[in-house]
Amino acid sequence: MQFFMYILLGFLLVCAISVSLSKNLLNSILVYMSYSLVMSIIWILLESPDLAITEAAVGAGVTSVLFFVTLKKIHAIMKAEEKEGEKKDE
């Protein structure tokens, strides 16, 4: 169990660093989502299921969806067709 915990904590560290270093905003949101998911597993291992449910619902679910919507609002997410069109224009 201790070994499993270390793996999870290492994953957490990797996620936290890669969120701040990734250039693509969409990728960083996805990584952040997985960070929340791992965090909720760690909460269960720390014997606080209340927090785990909240972390899974708010951190991995609602917050990331709100981030996605904001990215769409500021036109940071582009569809594949639009990207191809841009390349053709260039």
Partner: protein, 324 residues
């Protein structure tokens, strides 16, 4: 007693002229003051060119990084200073952490009589099997009331900031995008709709279970409400706003939040009143472990859950569309 003045006499008085001026029938300045018609504002080519040149020069002088030594020095200094500042901050925080009492030591100041009281007498005093819920919604219910209000205020702020004007909704103005969303949004994606049809009912039921079982097991109002909100968001994404508008509208949200917060405040003020005056509370605690037990905690959980679910959904709708 006022005297009635004849019409001719009245027409000679100042007040009549004043009245005429007000009504706009006669302008006293019309032929007495010299007036010039206003010139239409126009610029000839020369001034326009000169202005453009000025602007260009100004920009060069301000942003000329190659020739401007001050900017270069400042940029280098900025980088060095930011690194130094980060290192200082890290060192300070690590020093503060190292000064904390060791983790898990029984002699820590955290392990005082308050925690012991919660653990030993929590079940008898609150009737909740889940000690965490007993703490949050009984001993520290006032905190939770504040948290619910914070959520409500956050939603109000989002409504103020992101809400679209009703008059602009139909035209091709700012509301055009929202209108477009409304028309094109349910993309009738078969995979998404099938998954939503299968997943949404269990998600909502699980949320209700988490809310209702908050005093028996892990869970409670906040987490259950968030789960229900997430289920509603999935439903909206799959089937569009036209379907959710049937049961969840802006008015629904406002009434729901108001009723839940008022109910919470009333229930808690009752228990504060009885507790402060040493009156025996009328609400029985029930047998621990039964669903109808632990006094007011179940009601408070439902209230918090309603507020949180509405808030999550409203956040999403406001970000997505700017209106209900």
């Amino acid at each position: 007693m006022s005297k009635k003045v004849s019409q001719e006499k009245y027409e000679k008085t100042r007040s009549y002229r004043m009245k005429q001026w007000f009504d706009g029938t006669r302008d006293p300045f019309l032929n007495t003051v010299e007036m010039k018609p206003q010139k239409v504002f126009s610029e000839d080519k020369e001034t326009l060119e000169r202005r453009a040149e000025d602007r260009k020069k100004l920009r060069e002088r301000i942003y000329d990084t190659a020739g401007n030594t001050e900017v270069r020095v400042f940029r280098k200094f900025y980088r060095v200073a930011s690194v130094l500042f980060c290192i200082c901050l890290v060192v300070m925080l690590l020093a503060a952490v190292s000064g904390l009492p060791t983790f898990g030591n029984p002699g820590n100041p955290v392990n005082n009589e308050v925690a012991a009281r919660y653990i030993e007498n929590g079940l008898q005093e609150t009737g909740a099997v889940n000690i965490v819920t007993g703490m949050i919604l009984d001993y520290r219910a006032f905190d939770t009331l504040g948290e619910s209000h914070v959520l409500f205020i956050a939603t109000c702020t989002v409504l103020i900031l992101l809400r679209l004007d009703k008059s602009k909704k139909g035209s091709h103005g700012i509301g055009y995008e929202a209108e477009e969303d409304r028309i094109y949004e349910p993309k009738n994606d078969v995979i998404l709709q099938t998954v939503a049809r299968i997943l949404v009912p269990p998600i909502v039921i699980f949320g209700i279970y988490v809310i209702l079982g908050g005093h028996l097991g892990p869970g409670g109002g906040f987490s259950g409400g968030a789960v229900i909100g997430a289920g509603l968001i999935l439903y909206v994404n799959a089937f569009g706003f036209a379907k959710t508008e049937r049961f969840f509208h802006e008015k629904t949200y406002k009434r729901l939040s108001f009723c839940a917060l008022a109910c919470y405040a009333l229930a808690k003020s009752y228990s504060f009143y009885t507790g402060a005056n040493h009156i025996e509370s009328m609400i029985p605690l029930g047998t621990p472990g039964a669903i109808l037990s632990s006094g007011l905690i179940l009601i408070l959980n439902i209230c918090v859950g309603l507020v949180v679910a509405g808030t999550m959904y409203t956040f999403y709708v406001m970000f997505r569309k700017g209106a209900y």
